[in-house]
Amino acid sequence: MIEQILELFDYRFFNNAMLAAILASIVCGIIGSYIVARRMVFISGGITHASFGGIGIAYFMGLNPVLGAAVFSVMAALGIEWISTKSNIREDSAIGILWSFGMAVGIIFIFITPGYAPNLMSYLFGNILTVSDTDLWMIGILAAVLIVTFTLFYHLILFVAFDEEYARSHKAPVNLIKYIMISLVAITIVLNIRLVGIILVISFLTIPQSTANILTKRFDYIILLSIAFGIMGSIGGLLISYFYNIPSGATIIFVFVLLFILTKLAKMSLVKIKIRKQIENLS
């Protein structure tokens, strides 16, 4: 088994996949912790699905689909953020509209594009084994941007997320930060679509973070732990999917959920032991 795994590293595609898994875990660990802390999971789902519209339009115009998805989803994200502050449309309704509208635009444009769209499935379900050098570069640059941003502005991001009005009373540029953060969320989502697909990308942004949140309530620890859980789950899932020849994206998410359940059970039994000890000390 070990030998078989080591042999895999002779293949370029496998090295790329491993690197992609690690980089995806880093960007999703950072942005996902922000999403989970601010309860933005639904918005993120909306942005993810809206990006399909960008993929469809890019196909039709013969452009790079990732670029199309990026432009479309950043615009969708900024639109949702703007609507939630300015207009009197309810935010969750706005998300629902953009969610389905993006998918509809994508389907229509792919349908009217002449010829067959062979890679369509890879956008819906992703394939970490076919990741290209360009994909790796882009996600690597994003990882660097996120690490620098979160290191420099950690407290500002945290304080604005916790209490927006209070941050405003201290003259913090709350709107600017919210627009930048939602754009980073959108870009993170789009770059991960190639790896795990539109349908599964949200799990990368929520399951490792929720697992980390079982063990710690500190934002910085949640980020670090969810990166660790992300790497464990994605590499574990990658190996299982390779040896059993099952789709990589779905397998990775299966491992994520398994890690979540095991962590939850471990935490629950620890709490039980702690309570029992306290009762013993009392009597």
Binding site: L152, H155, A167, N213
Partner: protein, 252 residues
């Protein structure tokens, strides 16, 4: 020495004017109780002073003759996410957030300030706790600590006694009395009976603002200020009820 002058302010939301032609000067060591009926514009006034709401007319003039221009602010109810992953010490630290310090990390001197203010509030044991497990009174102490950690020249409290038990309420007012030696205090309250023994002057806000140069106010003065609130005397239920029976008086 005036800290801030509120000049001819009118403010509101969308097309609804809530405050009209408000004037108020806050001096050093002032302790002003802001009272008035619900919907009369107390919170709107606070938001205008804090710069959270742009006034429709008039201006707020800050007298910047000191390096420290921080405003301490204790919001009305805390509707913050109880599950949010942030610790007590980090929440208090956010009171030191300022334009100069938006980037980078906090220094040891900042953490020392946080430690001292948590001691002052009697909640040192909560330092590393997550805000999720706190009671209403504990959370209010944390938020008050956040408001005063920067040694502001002016402290603005919006209904500080809302979620608080009686014993903390007494502690709170005693603490404010001490803080008032260092900073001006503006306190919004619907609980007129209790605050009048602590504040120095009273501002009645109900669309207009009537400034009352004393902490003793009578029912007939309140009515002449167009401020329909029921005064209560000590020994009764500690929370005032709005005086419905004087809602329809002739000043409108």
């Amino acid at each position: 020495m005036p800290i801030v002058e509120i000049k001819d302010i009118s403010a509101g939301y969308a097309d609804e004017v809530i405050l009209k032609d408000i004037n108020l000067v806050v001096d050093d060591h002032d302790f002003i109780g802001i009272i008035g009926p619900n919907g009369g514009g107390k919170t709107t006034l606070v938001k205008v002073i804090l710069g959270l709401l742009k006034p429709m007319k008039g201006e707020i003039v800050w007298h910047k003759n000191e390096a420290n221009m921080h405003i301490g602010y204790l919001p009305q109810s805390n509707q913050n996410d109880k599950q949010f992953p942030v610790s007590v010490s980090e929440v208090v630290l956010s009171g030191l957030m300022s334009v100069k310090r938006f980037a980078g990390r906090f220094k040891d001197a900042d953490r020392l300030k946080v430690k001292n203010v948590l001691e002052l509030m009697g909640i040192s044991h909560l330092t590393n706790r997550n805000v999720g497990g706190l009671s209403g009174g504990q959370m209010q102490r944390v938020l008050l600590a956040r408001a005063i950690v920067s040694d502001p020249r002016i402290l603005i409290l919006d209904e500080p006694n809302t979620f608080v038990d009686n014993s903390f309420e007494r502690d709170l007012y005693e603490l404010l009395r001490i803080l008032n030696q260092k900073m001006a205090i503006l306190m919004v309250s619907h609980d007129v009976g209790t605050i009048t023994s602590y504040v120095k002057t009273i501002a009645c806000v109900n669309r207009n603002l009537h400034y009352h140069q004393s902490n003793i106010i009578t029912q007939s003065q309140l009515e002449s200020y167009n401020c329909p609130i029921q005064l209560i005397t000590h020994g009764q239920v500690p929370h005032t009820v709005l005086g419905d029976h004087i809602h329809n008086h002739k000043h409108d």
